[in-house]
Every structure is written in structure tokens, then in C-alpha cells.
Subunit: 728 residues, 2 copies
């Protein structure tokens, strides 16, 4: 099964705070409606093995534990304090905690920065106290924490069991929902939970890092409403994902949801599609339905990753085999083509009416012999053309549906599946329609760490996540950091000049920047005087040319009549130049016009766009898509954080829905996709080398079988001071 | 709540067969591994109140019931026989059943037509016997039947309870899966189940009709792998859907799934997208994930339909309110805008920090007073701007999570929700994260017929289905059958001539057909001699013209060089005609060329296509989509069965993903969508009026703000004899 794959080098202070030898419960209470009661119950019931110090000036004993009138009077030295008292008491209590050597405090109260005004002031006071006394803060306004491997159940959740799923959730109800789902299905266990609350000290990224380091956590599971330092999150996620799966559910996939989220958290939502792309780029398994979070986390935590997309289905009913096939195809997974040898082995054990073409349908062969399903799984798992095995049907229920006497054979089948799971490096994903009632064979599988799913849809989601994770790790490991490039001094000077002049790069400057760094830009000439046109016409010969105005003041060249196409010969060039100048002067009499740019018309091909934006959350991001309606109407674009690897770039090209157009339609040859990949990687390098480049827009780029041509290029220059400038 | 809305006029023979006063179990057995044992157990355990006649020549008693050596010796007159014996015995047994007056037989054995050869012969013999003796056949090769309201549980399923969900499933495992899901959630009950098997006598459509008539069935739920008479299915579905919801899960949504299905059923799959469109057109609620079948069936069976798409969310946690908002938007539902009066009423009962903007977030107001959630639901349900109410959060779990003392108030809340459900005509959809563990308040809701869902995703699917059903019924009711048109005698003659000549209609004939029936086709002239061009040029004046070859032998005019565009004046027309004729003669020297067609160039606009196909399963189907890549790459097309109503046509235009282009992008005005609707309805009428029209293809049609222009029209003529032809 799935071992944890490595360790981070540094160590989070949360390890000591969340695995304390003692805890002070400030505001502990005997009133069952209070959180200070709940926490005490949770600690006692789960058998917390450290010292518990209830702090309450009005009580001597709380739930049989001696209480203390103040933090100062506690005899021991707990690492952690749970503060259950109202907001105004918190700054003072933090000071007291600090003086007692308490390292961390979980603050439940709301009424801090999230309510503004006085609350914000209170939060500042709290943080001043925390910094002054070296107390780390979880919250305030947190739904709480637990560390079940340390019997630290401050939420007093019932019936949660220790296991490998670690959770950070910006919604307390979401944690509760996952816990109840786990209680119901009876087999998912948890490691640590943290509700980050206002994150006034320890932030989301720290919690993720902690889950990455925590040896009990096999999978880090995050419910996120909004990122603060998204760029840093991507870095931490990449580090953690190299060791263990990171599952993220990000809310706000729609404008309606973003509005709802911002009304209750004030978080900046950003583009959901972009967020998903960037998370995946960093190795995160993104879950898009809330009811898939737990199944996917459980599966990723327990099962082997899949080396590829080829799934072998073993089914005992044709209908569900069909449903499984549909869902696999929709998820981008394939039915593995079984080898003739595999099929022969299946024929040996199955009845003649069985189908040995994937999806394998045993067609009654197992009715009196359910353990044969395990044999079939073993046979297909041995096929080198198979990456994962998917059991679909009524395993576990044969002894219920057919005859009780089958129980022994069914248990042998379960045992064989457990053995197979240990012996193979391929994941076994098991769907059983009997999963909801947990018969003995399925309980045995659960005990052995083989999850059994109650929904074909959820099973396929798990298979898909295992495949994506396998692919990510395979690509991420050998992948060297892409070489970076150095900025060219002349081009740095160009940026500096543009900044001084308060303008963006001229198109010809932008193109020189591209050309300088290996991007194929068609030859072009800036013409300032009519007299230069004769030589230009001679240079380009019979090739039809395009002419565009060059002016810092005219951004929308076409609207200004600043573009003329299909020009051949000197006379046509001269006429076009006159027309462009006249039209642009009419459009904006004050425009400062440098001249016109002349370039050969692009060859026929597919229009794509390449863009760079500076996202306020995630920093520089590259965008790629097909031009025109694909971007504008269908929003069919791919995003990756810069810097990006060749694999990232290939992923962008492969990801867009209209990729069939790049593969060639209507008899057109496929476009040169590797050239496109070169282009994307080169743009990424340029963005890294020139911090003054704020945004970039290559639109359109014409791609065809011979390569690409950048037809239009815009570079927006950073206006905010990034570094010291020498005086002009 | 949701009353059953009407009754069909005729009555299916299945009512007597599936609610018999007596049943013969042929092949009854005391061996627990046999189906003949299971069925006996099911009848006895569920307390079947009619007479049971085990038939087995080797036993006197089976499970305490007197057995009979043969059907002939049974003393009573059962309406139903369950035949558990192998295939070869069946034809003889059917004869015996017929002689004893048995009206229907359920035949479990496989080994009939589905295995071909001898099996097919056996099935023919069986059917001959059935017809000769008036015995109706369920199966053979059926997974079985039950009628729980008649204690007739021939499948011997455990723990299924009587209720309103009727099921026809081409997969036995699917039924089993639904039954186990229902057993697990503890509240869904079933009426009748039928496995149609080989459908050698009674077919899928008959079973649907029966479920429509059955008074215990509140919702007809179908798992379908392939339709036989799809057109008839659509008619029956329409009739049943007028009375009660029809839920269909159709497998084979992908090529991979279709291949899997056809390998095990041999059924013809057809286009999934088309099937979904046609089912919806007939009022069917189509479910696309197998784990949504039961929640959607339960919700549609129990809850009010929604009059519109405006959902009011009442939540006790911001995170889940956000998730709900996301899912609603993705499902095409809206967050209702609550009136100021509604918000004022909410503010009266909630704490100041609560959000009274939809999604309503009580923000702690209900922590000590959970019944306030019911009050909020009542307030928003009273808002005329709200079509349905969605409760999201931890209702039912307050007494578990906060304090046991809250149980009383929580039960009062449940009671208030039940009262509200009876008082309002809006659906109340309830999600609770405590649904998996069924606390008392949620059990109370279930008992009162208010389902509680354990997944936000499934709840939203139910809301969406309730909204679609409301919309369907609102549109279907007042909708008069669209007027039909009569065929024009001259055009009938044109079809007859084309048939005689073994060709399709010429473009000008196709356009005359369209024009004759009110479709706006640009003026055009067929030119047979060069001499006619002068007059043509004079007629059209300065308008740029298009010229195309007219030839029965040249289908791809552009490839043959048979199209010239943008022609102005006589000289250009003459030159173009010569060029077209020369090019087409070179392309196909044997082509019979009638002349050329001249027509004004279409104005600028959006290219759409309108097509008619004759689907082998569903008959004549209209297709609509945007031209070019939208159809070819994105498969963004809508389908409706002919005849279609204006509502259907509006639905087609509204449905395509690229509809934003029709609404006007890049500053273009919206196209005239009502003209497009006229066009679609007119095409539907033409197809009805001319049975010789096999296929039709208007591609492209240019639409703009002023209307549309049919640029090219092809009509394929039916070659098979449809009706008597007069001798030529």
C-alpha cells in the first residue's frame, strides 16, 4: 500500500503545541452549553494522557478535575492553552500564558478583526502580547483543533477515530460534516484538525506545512474559501505533495458562490479556473464536489498511486460495468486493453459466457464462488497494460443475496484482495453495492486499509485522483528546474526608458524582447519616413505585408484605422502609410506617432493567445488558449504559475477543450505543438528575468504545422517602484 | 406536498398480473441456493396474502406450504406464475399455465434469444405458446419483479419497505444497489419493480405505462441501457410525465460505455446527447450519475415541484452556504433576491451579525434555538420572489453538538417544517450534515414525507429536477399542439420526381419547399443559358451575388469549383458561369449540369445550422447549433423530436453553450431569436407534411438582428417505399 514518501527538513512549532504534555483550559465550565465544558469532556472521554488544568476562578473542581483560579497559579508547565473566554479577556490572558511559558493558545472567541473597529484593535493588542511573550496563536475565531493520535479532542467530537486524514478547514461545519460521514461509514480516521480562524498569527500555509511534517497524517485535506499568500501556498503545497497527497476543496467556483463567500469571510476569491490550474500544477488533488472530499482523501491516503490511466474493471453485472465505463471515460481514464495472455488466464477460471474484454464481466461465474473475483483482480493486476484495478459489483453481499454458506469463500476472497494489495504496486479500488450495510468481508477490507466505496462515481473520482497523483510524481521527480535566462542590458534599458516615459513598451520593443530571448518573431521594420519604404519594399519582395501604426498614445490600433493588411509593392506601402497617418491623426490629434511597423502577413494557421498577468494572490501567471470566441465566449484557457516547466507547458496545451483544433481538423495538419511549448517556456523565462514586465499579451499568435508567428505583442510595464532606480 | 396529478384512461394487464390473488411458483425448492427457494421465502416473509402454490414433482411440502406435482393439479386459479426452471422447460410450462387460466408468467431463466441459435428458437416456441394460450410474459432472463404494496416480493429482498418509488431496471444489480441504499438511509420505500429481461412479450414502454397507472407509484424510475421503440417510449413518457415524475438514468453516455453496454446487451446505443434532449422534451427527469437516482426519485416523488429557478438558502454556516451557492449556480439555479419586507422579518428574529441577504446565514442565532431555522424557512417561503427553500447545515444535530436540552426545540422545529411543507406550494429541500446518523428530528421529517439529504450536491440535483419539472408542467399544459401544414401538391410532385429519378432535391427545389411553407429564403434564380444573365443582372442591381452549380451529380459544390461569390454586374456573372461550368466539367466529366443558381450574398451575421435526421430509434429529430467548430469540435448542438412546439424551439436556442453569441458579443446586436424559433417550427411542420423528406440540412443559415437567411439547403429524399406510388 501507500507509504509516506519522504520528510521535510524543518519542523513546525505546531508539533509541540498540538501534542502537549499539559493543557490549560481557560474558561473551563461545568455548564453543558459552554465550549469550556465540551473541551473538558473531549479531553476526559478520549483519555488525554497529559495534565489538564481547568482555569476558572469560580470553581474548585470541574468534571472531577481540580480547577485553578488563574493561569498564574497552575502548578505544571503546559505547552498549550485553550481559551474559551470572550474576546476582551484575551490580550490579558495571552500575557499570563506567556509568563507561564505556554507556547501556544487556541482562541475560540469571535469579535476580533472579523467585526472590524474595536475588534480589530483587540486583535492587535492580542498579537502584541503574543509577540512580546512568544505565544503562538491559533485563531482567534477558530472552530477549534484536535489531534486524535494524542487524545487531544478539544472539539469533543463523538465517534471520531484516529487515522491518517489531516484537515484544515475554514468552515467548522465542513469538518463536522466530514466527521459525521466518517462516523457513518465507520472506517475513515483522522489525525489533526485545525480551524485557522482569523489567522492573526499562524496561517493556512503553516498548517499545511505542519500536516506535511506530521507523521500520523497520510493525506492533508484542506477546505479553502480564500488564499492570502497564494504564491507561498503553492510552494508549500509543492513541498508537501512530494511527500504525501494534498487534497483541496476550494469554494467559490461560481460568481454566485464567490459573492456568498466574500459576504461572510471578506476573502478575495480570484478566478476559480485559474486557482484549480495552479493548485494542480503544485501537485494538489483538487476536489470539485464537497461530497467527494472524504472518499478522495481516504483513497489517496491509503491506496497506491496509479502509474497511468489504464483501468481494468472486474464486474459481476453488465449494467454497473457500463456505468463504470461511462464514468471512467468522462474522467479521462481508459479501459485497459487486456493482453491475450491475461484473457486466456481469465477464461481458465470463468464460465464460457463471461466477457474477458475489459470491462471484465464474470456473468454468473462467481455466484457460487465469490473469491473468484479476487482471482480475476490478481490476473488483471499482473497485466503490464493495466495501471489500476476497479472491482465493481456485489462483493461482500454474496452471502446475503445468494446463500449464507458463501460467507467462508467471501472472506477468503477478502483475504486474497488484502494480500494482492500488499503484493502489487497498482491501486485496487473497490466499489460494492453492499458497502452501505458493511457485511463482514467488507469490514475485513476496511480493517486492512482497503477502502470500499458505496458509489461508482466516487470510486472513479478516487481512481482519477490516484492517476493524477502518479502522473504528477513521475513528472515532478526527474524534472530539473528549467534554466533561467539573464536579462539583456539593452532591454533592461528599454524597460527603464519606458518607465521614465510613463508608457508601456512599443510593439517593436516588445518584439525585440521576445526575439532576443529566442522567440520566433517575424522580421519587421519600423518606418519613420516615407523615404524608407522603397528599401523596405525591396527587402520583403512579393510577400504580402501588414502595416501598423507605432504610437504610445494609440492602444487600439484597429479602432484608430492604424492597421492595413495585404500590401504588396512600394506604391501600396506608401498609400497605406499616408492613410494610416491620416486616420490616426483624425482619431487622436494629440497622439505622438513614431511611424509605422511593416511586417510580412502571417501564414494561415490557428490563432492562439499567450498572456501573462500578475495575480494579486498568486503572482505572475501564464495564460494560454485559442483565440477569439474560445477565450471570450467559452473561457477555454489554461493557467500556470510562472516559472513553468516544459511539462507544465505541455499540460496547458493538452488541457484546453479545443485542443482537437491543434491536432488538425477538416484535413488540416496538426500544428507544431512542441514549438508552442517552447514559446510558453520562453515567455515564462522572460517574465522571470525582467521584474519590470507587469503584463504581457501575445494576441494573436498564429500556429501551424511549421511553427508559430507572434502577430501582435503588448508588454505592460510595472509602474510601481520595484527596485532603486538611478536618477534619469 | 406533491399530489399525484391525474390518471391515464386505459389500463395495463400488468395490474392483475402483479397484484394476483394467487401465484404458482414453478420450480419451488427447499434448497437455499435456488431462486425457487428465495421466492418462497420472500412471499412467506413479506406475508403475501393470496394463495401460494409451489410446483415441484419431487416434494409434498416446501417451507411449510403444500406443493403440487404440476401446474395442472393446482386447485385454485392463480393469475401469476413464477417460473424458476431452466429454459428448455419453459414453452411446455407456458402451455400448462395457459390451460390453467394463468394470465402472466415471470420467467427467470436465461438461455433464450440473448444467446442466439437454439435459445432464439426456444424463445419463439415460448412466445407461440404464450400467444396461443393468452399468457403474458415478463422476461425471460429477468432479474425478477416485486410489488411491495401487495406483499409480492419475488426477489426476496430484505428490508425493503413499501413506498412510492416504482422501478424498471435493465440491470438487476442496479435495483439491488437502490434497495441497499434505501435500506441504509432507512426512509425510501418502493412500489413495484420489474426487470424487463429479454422483453419478448411485455416491453419497456408497457412497464412505464403500468407505473404511470399504478396508484402506489408516485415516481417512475427507469434504468435504461438501450431503447427499442424509442419514439413510442417518448409518447408514453409524455403521458406518464403529465401525471407523475419519470426519472431516467440512461447508460452509455460515452463511447466507452456504449461499447461496454452493447457487448453485454447488444442494444443500440444512439447518441447520448440526443437521447437526453429528447427525454427531457418528453418531460423526463434525466439523471446523469447513478448515485443521484435514488435521491432525485425520492425528492420528485415527495416534494412539490418548483415554479421557477429562484432558491432561498437558509444556512447556519457560511462555508456550506457558499458551497450551496456554487452548486446552485452550476445547476443553472439562482439565489432568489429576498424582498426588503422579507429581510426585515428575518432581522426581527435573527441576531445582528446574521446575513439576511440570500444565502441567509443565521450566524449563531440558532445555536440555542434551532427551531428558528423553521421560522426562517417560513419567512423566505412567504416571499413571492422565492420558488423553493433550501435548508443547509446541522439541523437535527443541535441537540448532539451543543446540548441535549435543545432536543425539544429541535423537535418543534421539525414539526414546524412539516406544517410549512403542507401549507406552502413551494418545495422544502433539506440538507443536514447529521443526515447520516439520523437523529430524532430528522427521523420525524422523514416520517412526515420530507426527505433529508446527506449531500449538498444531491440536494441541489433535487432542487434542479423540481425546477425542471415545474417548468415542464407549466409549459406543457397550456401548450396547444402546433398547427400542422398540408403538403403542397406541386412539391409532392417534386418529391415524386426526385424519387423516380433516384436523386435528392436540387437546392432550388429544396428552397422552393422552404419558401412555400413560410421560410424566408433569399430570392434566387436558376440560370440555364448564358443569355438569361443580362436579365438576372438587371434584377439584382448592385447587390453582390453568389453563384452555385446546379447538378444532381455534384454534392460538394465547393470542392468541384462550383461556387463563386461577390459577383456584381453582367460581365462578372458571365465570367463566373463559364468558370463554374468549366471547373465542374473537369471535376466530373459525366456530371449532368442543369445550370447555375444566382442569389444575393447573405448579410453579415452568425452562422447556424438546422438539420433533420431520421434516427433509427427515435424517428425524425431536429438538430440546431451554431456552425463550424461549434458543431464539429464542441458538439454544441440541441436535439428535439419532431413535431416540436415553440417552447421546444425556444429551449433549443436557449440550450446551446454558445448562446451568448446569439445574444450579441463584441458590440454586435442580439440576433432575432424569435425568427430562429419560427424557422425551427416551420422545418418541423414541413417534415411532418412530407413523409418523403428523409433528411434536411440548412447549412449555413445566417442569423442577424434583422432575421435569417438560408444560404444553403439540402433535402435528402427517402428511397425506401413509404406508400403506394402511382406508376410513372
Amino acid at each position: 500500500m501507500n507509504p509516506i514518501e519522504g520528510h521535510l527538513s524543518t519542523r513546525s512549532p505546531l508539533h509541540d503545541i498540538l501534542a502537549p504534555t499539559g493543557i490549560a483550559v481557560i474558561g473551563a465550565s461545568a455548564d453543558p452549553t459552554k465550549r469550556g465544558y465540551k473541551a473538558m469532556v473531549g479531553l476526559i472521554k478520549d483519555g488525554f494522557r497529559g495534565d489538564v488544568y481547568p482555569v476558572n476562578p469560580k470553581a474548585d473542581m470541574i468534571l472531577g478535575v481540580r480547577a485553578w483560579p488563574s493561569v498564574a497559579e497552575i502548578p505544571g508547565s503546559p505547552e498549550l492553552a485553550l481559551i474559551c473566554t470572550p474576546a476582551p479577556s484575551v490580550p490579558g490572558l495571552i500575557r499570563e500564558c506567556g509568563r507561564r511559558g505556554i507556547q501556544g493558545a487556541v482562541i475560540l472567541a469571535s469579535g476580533f478583526a472579523e467585526v472590524g473597529g474595536e475588534g480589530a484593535a483587540l486583535e492587535r493588542q492580542m498579537m502584541e502580547a503574543a509577540r512580546a511573550h512568544g505565544v503562538r496563536i491559533i485563531g482567534p475565531n477558530t472552530s477549534g483543533v484536535f489531534n486524535l493520535h494524542h487524545q487531544l479532542n478539544l472539539l469533543a467530537l463523538d465517534n471520531v477515530k484516529p487515522g491518517g486524514v489531516g484537515i484544515v478547514s475554514q468552515s467548522g461545519n465542513m469538518l463536522l460534516s466530514l466527521a459525521l460521514e466518517a462516523q457513518h461509514n465507520g472506517h475513515v480516521g483522522f489525525s489533526t484538525y485545525v480551524g485557522p480562524g482569523n489567522q492573526s498569527d499562524i496561517g493556512f500555509n503553516d498548517y499545511l506545512r505542519y500536516l506535511g511534517e506530521d507523521r500520523h497524517t497520510r493525506v492533508a485535506t484542506l477546505y479553502v474559501e480564500g488564499f492570502r499568500d497564494g504564491r507561498r501556498f503553492l510552494e508549500v503545497a509543492r513541498e508537501v505533495a512530494a511527500m504525501k497527497p494534498v487534497v483541496v476543496y476550494k469554494s467559490g467556483s461560481t460568481e454566485q458562490g464567490q459573492k456568498a463567500a466574500s459576504s461572510h469571510t471578506g476573502a478575495l476569491a480570484g478566478s476559480y479556473a485559474m486557482t484549480v490550474d495552479l493548485l494542480k500544477q503544485s501537485g494538489v488533488s483538487v476536489v470539485q464536489h464537497s461530497d467527494e472530499i472524504l472518499p478522495v482523501a481516504e483513497g489517496l491516503g491509503l491506496l497506491q498511486k496509479a502509474a497511468g490511466k489504464r483501468v481494468a474493471v472486474v464486474a459481476d453485472g453488465g449494467g454497473q460495468a457500463t456505468i463504470a465505463s461511462d464514468r471512467l471515460a468522462e474522467a479521462g481514464l481508459e479501459l485497459a486493453e487486456l493482453s491475450e495472455a491475461t484473457r486466456a488466464r481469465l477464461r481458465e477460471v470463468l464460465l464460457p459466457q463471461a466477457s474477458t474484454v475489459n470491462p471484465v464481466d464474470v456473468a454468473g461465474s462467481t455466484d457460487a464462488h465469490p473469491s473468484l473475483l479476487a482471482t480475476c483482480m490478481e490476473i488483471v493486476a499482473a497485466d503490464p497494460g493495466v495501471d489500476s484495478v476497479f472491482l465493481v459489483g456485489m462483493f461482500g453481499g454474496y452471502s446475503i443475496r445468494f446463500a449464507e454458506s458463501l460467507l467462508g469463500d467471501e472472506m477468503r476472497g477478502a483475504e486474497a484482495m488484502v494480500d494482492l494489495a500488499h503484493a502489487t504496486d497498482k491501486p485496487l479500488v473497490i466499489y460494492s453495492l453492499y458497502a452501505p450495510i458493511q457485511p463482514p468481508a467488507l469490514r475485513r477490507l476496511h480493517e486492512a486499509g482497503l477502502p470500499v466505496y458505496a458509489s461508482i462515481e466516487h470510486s472513479v473520482r478516487v481512481l482519477s485522483a490516484l492517476g493524477e497523483r502518479g502522473q504528477y510524481l513521475a513528472q515532478a521527480r526527474p524534472q530539473a528546474r528549467e534554466v533561467s535566462v539573464d536579462a539583456h542590458p539593452e532591454l533592461e534599458a528599454t524597460f527603464a526608458r519606458a518607465r521614465r516615459e510613463g508608457r508601456d513598451l512599443f510593439e517593436y520593443e516588445a518584439k525585440r524582447l521576445l526575439r532576443e530571448h529566442g522567440i520566433a518573431v517575424p522580421e519587421e521594420r519600423v518606418v519613420r519616413e516615407a523615404g524608407e519604404l522603397a528599401e523596405v519594399a525591396a527587402t520583403f519582395g512579393d510577400a504580402p505585408l501588414a502595416m501598423k501604426v507605432v504610437s504610445r498614445d494609440i492602444l487600439h490600433k484597429s479602432d484608430a484605422g492604424g492597421v492595413r493588411l495585404d500590401l504588396v509593392g512600394r506604391a501600396a506601402l506608401e498609400e497605406a502609410r499616408e492613410a494610416i497617418l491620416a486616420s490616426c491623426r483624425a482619431y487622436d490629434p494629440d497622439a505622438d506617432i513614431e511611424g509605422v511597423l511593416v511586417t510580412p502577413m502571417a501564414k494561415k494557421g490557428v490563432e492562439v493567445i499567450v498572456g501573462v498577468i500578475r495575480d494579486p494572490i498568486f503572482g505572475p501567471v501564464l495564460m494560454f488558449g485559442l483565440g477569439g470566441i474560445f477565450v471570450e465566449i467559452l473561457e477555454d484557457v489554461a493557467f500556470r504559475a510562472i516559472p513553468l516547466s516544459r511539462q507544465d507547458a505541455r499540460g496547458m496545451v493538452a488541457q484546453i477543450k479545443a485542443r482537437r483544433i491543434l491536432d488538425g481538423v477538416r484535413g488540416e495538419p496538426a500544428v507544431d505543438q512542441e514549438a508552442l511549448v517552447d514559446l510558453l517556456v520562453s515567455v515564462s523565462r522572460i517574465v522571470e528575468a525582467y521584474p519590470d514586465l507587469k503584463e504581457l499579451d501575445l494576441n494573436p499568435v498564429i500556429v501551424n504545422a511549421d511553427g508559430y508567428a507572434v502577430v501582435d505583442a503588448r508588454v505592460i510595464v510595472e509602474r510601481e517602484p520595484l527596485h532603486e532606480e538611478s536618477p534619469a
